[in-house]
Amino acid sequence: MAGLTTDAELVARCRAGDQSAWNELVERFSRYVYAIAVQGFRLQGHDAEDVFQEVFARVYEHLDRLRSDEAIRPWIAQLTRRLCIDRLRASGREAPAELEETAGADERLAALDDALTVRAGLDAVGDPCREILDRFFCRDQSYKVIGDALDLPSGTIASRISRCLTKLRSELEGKIVRGSRV
């Protein structure tokens, strides 16, 4: 996807001590880590928050040990997964029923991986589509709330969402037309 800093570039800048790169790295992967913990492993509240913070603490501490800068995404996924399992074990939640539940984690994690790719596409498309689609799909806001927030007639939100989805699809297929109007 054009126009975005690659994961490898971001990691290299983080390693050089660039705070803005670290902010961007956290922003880029925060939803992914959160979703793995909350949806993949059904962690809640403090358990989810502790895992979330521990993941980024370890990423920060061990960035130098990453064999390949491009591997940040699978590394974060694996780290999050391991910490979630540790957390479930530490809290004594190893009852058979819950183990069965985590057994479905593979499928959920694969879907989250695809979701992160779509999210990166959304970032590449940029605003206003990013904001409209994020508000509708990720924050579950109504047409009215979105319209009020963006100062747009709520009657036009549905068609804008539709056009933005088409634009995002084009981005994901690698055939985006830059500067096209939504």
Binding site: V26, S30, E49, L112
Partner: protein, 84 residues
């Protein structure tokens, strides 16, 4: 490259909801927090009374220095003090 229709793209977007803002901010402030930890550890190495106070209550020591004592930061301070 992903070849999904718009409906599937919408479903995938829903899978990554927004993270509580404070969580993201705390993670972004990690580098600063780590630098502040280093300062606490350095002071503890030079001042036995301060070190005893910190070891006695890590969370209170962090709060006194204006650092949010989230578990990952407390654990990092504990490790650093043990290594110092």
């Amino acid at each position: 490259m992903i070849d999904y229709d718009e409906q599937r793209i919408g479903e995938l977007l829903r899978l990554l909801p927004a993270v509580p803002e404070g969580w993201v901010r705390a993670a972004q402030e990690l580098p600063q927090a780590r630098a502040e930890l280093a300062a606490i550890v350095a002071r503890a190495e030079e001042d036995a009374v301060f070190r005893a106070k910190v070891v006695a209550d890590l969370e209170a020591a962090l709060e006194a220095e204006g650092i949010d004592p989230i578990p990952s930061v407390v654990a990092a301070l504990r490790v650093r003090l043990e290594q110092a």
